[in-house]
C-alpha cells in the first residue's frame, strides 16, 4: 500500500503550477473569456511542449506514454490555475479512445492524430448521446461523438456547429450537426458501450480532479481575503462565523482529494470497481466545489459579487463542472445502485 505520488509526479506538478502562475494569471483568463476559442493556442502548445497535453500519448507517437495517476495531479493544478485549455477532453478522454481504437481504423486514427495532440497541434472534444451540446467543440480539431450505439471520430471539417453560450466564459459549447459514415466509425454495439462507459468514468475522475483544484483555489482566495478585510476593527477572518464556514468547505475538499486520486488509480489499473470509484470521486468533488464556491462568495461579500473581482472566474467554473458528466446527486444514485446491485 503506497497511497501517494512519486517524486517525478510531484515535480511535474510543481512545474505545471509554476507555468500556470506565470502564463495564466487572472488577466490571461479574462483574455481567454474574450477570445473566440475560450482558450489560447500558444498556451496549449506550450503545455504540449511541457508534455502535459501528450501525457497519455504513447511514446512511439511522440507522447510521454504515462497514465491517469500521472495525470490526476496535473488536472488538479489546471483547476487551481483556471487553465481553460481542453486537457480533460483531449488528454484524459480523447487520447485513450484513439489508443484503444480497434482495427485498421484505429491505425489510421493513431497515425493521423496522436502526434498532432502531442505537439499541441490538435485538440479533441467529446460528445456522448445524452449531451445536448458539446463542450469545447469550437476549438476542437477532432470530435469523438456517440450516436445510436456507435462511437465516431469526426474531424472539425465534418461538423456544423451552433454555439450555445454559457455562463462560464472560458467554456465554448456548441450543438454539433454531423453525418455518421463508415469512414468516421470507431466502434459500435457492445464495444461502443464499453468505450462510452470508460469515457464517462474517465470524465468523472478527470473533471473531479479539476474541481478539487478549483475548490482549493476558491478557499485560498477567500482565506486570503478574510485575513485582509477588516470590519469592527479586526480582520473578518478572526470571527468564528467566518472561520467555521471556511473550514467546513476545506474539510469537504480535503476528503474529496484522496477519493479522486483513488479513482485515477482504479481506472488506470482496470479495477473492477473503477466505475464505482469514479462516481464516488465526482460526487465528492462536485459537492466540495459547490460548497467552496458558495462559501467563498459569502466570505467575500459584495466585492465577490462583482464582475471586476476574479472570484467569479473560478466560481462559474465550479458550477459548470459540478454539473458536467453527472452532478453529485446523479453519481450518488449510481454509487447506491452499484452497491445495492452487487450483494443482491
Amino acid at each position: 500500500m503506497q497511497f501517494g505520488f512519486d517524486e517525478h509526479q510531484l515535480e511535474f506538478r510543481a512545474q505545471l503550477r509554476a507555468f500556470a502562475e506565470k502564463e495564466c494569471p487572472p488577466g490571461a483568463l479574462r483574455e481567454a473569456w474574450a477570445s473566440p476559442l475560450g482558450w489560447s493556442r500558444p498556451r496549449y502548445e506550450a503545455l504540449a511542449e511541457m508534455g502535459v497535453v501528450g501525457l497519455t500519448v504513447p511514446e512511439e507517437h511522440g507522447g510521454m506514454g504515462l497514465g491517469l495517476v500521472d495525470l490526476v495531479g496535473l488536472l488538479e493544478e489546471a483547476g487551481r490555475a483556471g487553465l481553460p485549455e481542453p486537457l480533460v477532453e483531449t488528454t484524459a478522454l480523447g487520447v485513450p479512445v484513439l489508443v484503444q481504437a480497434p482495427g485498421a481504423q484505429g491505425e489510421v486514427l493513431r497515425a493521423r492524430w496522436l502526434e498532432a495532440v502531442a505537439t499541441g497541434a490538435a485538440a479533441i472534444a467529446v460528445g456522448t448521446a445524452s449531451m445536448p451540446a458539446v463542450p469545447g467543440a469550437q476549438g476542437a480539431d477532432l470530435l469523438l461523438l456517440e450516436r445510436e450505439g456507435e462511437l465516431h471520430a469526426v474531424p472539425a471539417a465534418g461538423v456544423v456547429l451552433t454555439p450555445r453560450p454559457v455562463l462560464d466564459g472560458s467554456r465554448r459549447l456548441a450543438k454539433v450537426d454531423w453525418e455518421p459514415s463508415p469512414a468516421t466509425l470507431v466502434v459500435s454495439g457492445f464495444e461502443a458501450e464499453g468505450f462510452v462507459t470508460a469515457l464517462e468514468d474517465r470524465a468523472a475522475m478527470g473533471t473531479g480532479a479539476v474541481l478539487v483544484g478549483v475548490a482549493d483555489r476558491l478557499i485560498s482566495m477567500a482565506a486570503l481575503y478574510a485575513g485582509q478585510r477588516s470590519q469592527f476593527g479586526k480582520p473578518i477572518g478572526s470571527f468564528q462565523a467566518v472561520k467555521h464556514h471556511l473550514v467546513n468547505a476545506l474539510v469537504r475538499v480535503e476528503f474529496a482529494r484522496p477519493v479522486v486520486y483513488r479513482a485515477a488509480w482504479s481506472l488506470s489499473e482496470g479495477d473492477p470497481d473503477a466505475r464505482l470509484h469514479a462516481s464516488m470521486a465526482k460526487a465528492m468533488a462536485s459537492e466540495a466545489a459547490t460548497v467552496a464556491a458558495r462559501t467563498a462568495l459569502q466570505v467575500h461579500g459584495a466585492i465577490g459579487y462583482t464582475w471586476e473581482h476574479d472570484l467569479h472566474l473560478w466560481m462559474k467554473r465550479a458550477w459548470a463542472l459540478a454539473a458536467a458528466w453527472g452532478d453529485a446527486a446523479a453519481h450518488r444514485a449510481r454509487v447506491l445502485e452499484i452497491l445495492v446491485g452487487r450483494r443482491a
Binding site: M1, Q2, F3, V259, Y261, A329
Partner: protein, 398 residues
C-alpha cells in the same frame, strides 16, 4: 502509487480474520453480544475479552513484543482494525489506555514507566480513564484548576486536590491519567503537570454519571489530598500541556478512530436500505426512496475517511508527523458517524425509537446515541474548526 496490500499483509489479514471469527463473542456462537461495558458485569466481561485477545497476541498488534504486541506496522494495525469491526467484536474497554495513554507513554514515559504500565494495560488487567475536563474547563482546557503541590513532608511526593469530570469508563476504571496545575503563577499552559493515579488511592472519590442511554458511561472524580509519588509524573513537571496535546492528537486523529468503524457501519446501512426498499408490508413505501441520497452520502463519506487515512498513513510510514490536520479528521469522522446513524434511524422509521425487552436500545439507536457524543468529546467540533482555521488556513486568532 499502489493501492494493493502486500502478500504478507494479506496473510496477516487472513490470520486476524480467522482468529476473530473463531474467538470474538458473537450472537451466532451464543457468546455475545457482551452486556454493556458501562455496567459492572459488562465491564468484567469486556476485560475477559481483552485478556483473551492479549493471550493470543491480538490486543495491541502495533506495540513492541516486550509489551505484549507483535511489533506490527501501521498498515497491519489498520488491517487488524478492519477485521475487528468486520467481525463485530466488542468495544475495547481498554481503549482510553491503549489508544490515548500508550502513545504518550511511548513518547514521554521513562523505561520504568513503560515497564510498569503497558503490559497490564494490554492485558485488560488495568483499565484507564481520562481526567482532563473539569466543571469549568471543557473546551477551554487550559482553565483547569485541579492542583498539584509538593508534599511538605516528602519531597518525592505530590498532593492532588480538585475535581475532574466526564471521565469515560471512570465508574469502573483502575487508573486515571490527568492534568493538574502544579505552578499557580506560571502562564496557564505552562504550569501543568501530567499525572498517573490509581483510582483506589486514599482521597479519590468517584461519582458515576448516567449518560443518555441511562448507563454510567462516565464519572466525576474528586481528589482530596491524594498523595502520588513523583515517579507517576508523565513527562516533565510543568510540561503537562505539551504531553497532553500529544495524546489529544491521537484522540482526534488516527489512533482512536480507525476508518473500519465507519466503513463497516456504512456497509450495514446499505443492507438496511436494501431491506427497507424491499419490505412488502411497509405502509410507508417511500421511505427508502427519501433516504437513498443520504445512504449514498454516508457510504461515500465513510470511504473518503478510509482513503484519507490511507493517504495519511502513507506519509506517516515515510516519517512525516501528524499536525493540525488531525482536527480535520475529527470533524469528518464525527459528522460521518452521525450521518450514518441518523440515516439508519430514518430508514427504520417508527421502529427507530423502540427498546428491546431488557430496555436496551437497538444497535442503530445505541450507535446514534454514541455518535451524538462525537462532535463534543476530544475537543468540540467548534474548537477543532478554530484550530484548522488558524493553523491550516492561517486565519488570525479571535
Amino acid at each position: 502509487m499502489d493501492l494493493r496490500f502486500t502478500p504478507e499483509q494479506d496473510r496477516f489479514r487472513a490470520e486476524a480474520r480467522g482468529w476473530l471469527e473463531a474467538n470474538a463473542p458473537s450472537a451466532s456462537k451464543g457468546t455475545g453480544p457482551l452486556p454493556s461495558l458501562d455496567t459492572a458485569a459488562g465491564f468484567e466481561a469486556h476485560r475477559a475479552w481483552e485478556r483473551t485477545m492479549f493471550e493470543a497476541g491480538w490486543s495491541v498488534v502495533s506495540w513492541p513484543v516486550e509489551y505484549g504486541g507483535r511489533g506490527a506496522g501501521l498498515w497491519e494495525w489498520l488491517i487488524f482494525e478492519e477485521e475487528y469491526y468486520r467481525a463485530g467484536a466488542p468495544t475495547r474497554v481498554g481503549q482510553n489506555g491503549i489508544f490515548l495513554l500508550a502513545p504518550t507513554l511511548f513518547e514521554f514515559g521513562t523505561a520504568e514507566q513503560r515497564a510498569r504500565y503497558l503490559l497490564p494495560m494490554a492485558s485488560g488487567e488495568e483499565v484507564w480513564c481520562q481526567g482532563w475536563s473539569e466543571p469549568d474547563a471543557g473546551s477551554d482546557l487550559a482553565a483547569i484548576r485541579s492542583r498539584a503541590t509538593r508534599s511538605p513532608a516528602q519531597s518525592d511526593t505530590w498532593v492532588l486536590n480538585g475535581q475532574k469530570t466526564w471521565c469515560s469508563r471512570g465508574a469502573f476504571a483502575h487508573w486515571i491519567f490527568g492534568l493538574f496545575r502544579s505552578d499557580p503563577v506560571a502562564e496557564r499552559h505552562r504550569g501543568l503537570t501530567y499525572f498517573l493515579v490509581p483510582m483506589n488511592s486514599p482521597g479519590v472519590t468517584v461519582r458515576p454519571i448516567a449518560q443518555l442511554d441511562g448507563e454510567t458511561g462516565f464519572a466525576e472524580v474528586f481528589f482530596e489530598d491524594v498523595e502520588v509519588p513523583a515517579a507517576q509524573v508523565l513527562g516533565q513537571v510543568g510540561e503537562g500541556w505539551r504531553v497532553a496535546m500529544a495524546t489529544a492528537g491521537s484522540e482526534r486523529g488516527l489512533s482512536l478512530r480507525s476508518p473500519a468503524r465507519y466503513t463497516e457501519a456504512a456497509a450495514r446501512l446499505v443492507e438496511l436500505y436494501r431491506r427497507t426498499a424491499r419490505a412488502d408490508g411497509d405502509r410507508d413505501r417511500g421511505r427508502a426512496v427519501r433516504c437513498a441520497d443520504n445512504v449514498a452520502r454516508a457510504v461515500i463519506d465513510a470511504e473518503a475517511y478510509r482513503l484519507h487515512t490511507y493517504w495519511t498513513a502513507t506519509r506517516l510510514v515515510a516519517g512525516a508527523g501528524v499536525g493540525p490536520e488531525a482536527s480535520m479528521n475529527k470533524l469528518f469522522w464525527s459528522e460521518t458517524d452521525l450521518l450514518v446513524h441518523t440515516t439508519a434511524l430514518a430508514l427504520l422509521g417508527s421502529e427507530a425509537e423502540m427498546l428491546d425487552q431488557e430496555g436496551r436500545p437497538s444497535p442503530w439507536l445505541d450507535g446514534f446515541l454514541f455518535a451524538l457524543a462525537g462532535p463534543i468529546y476530544a475537543g468540540t467540533n467548534e474548537i477543532q474548526r478554530n484550530v484548522v482555521a488558524e493553523r491550516v488556513l492561517g486565519l488570525p486568532r479571535g
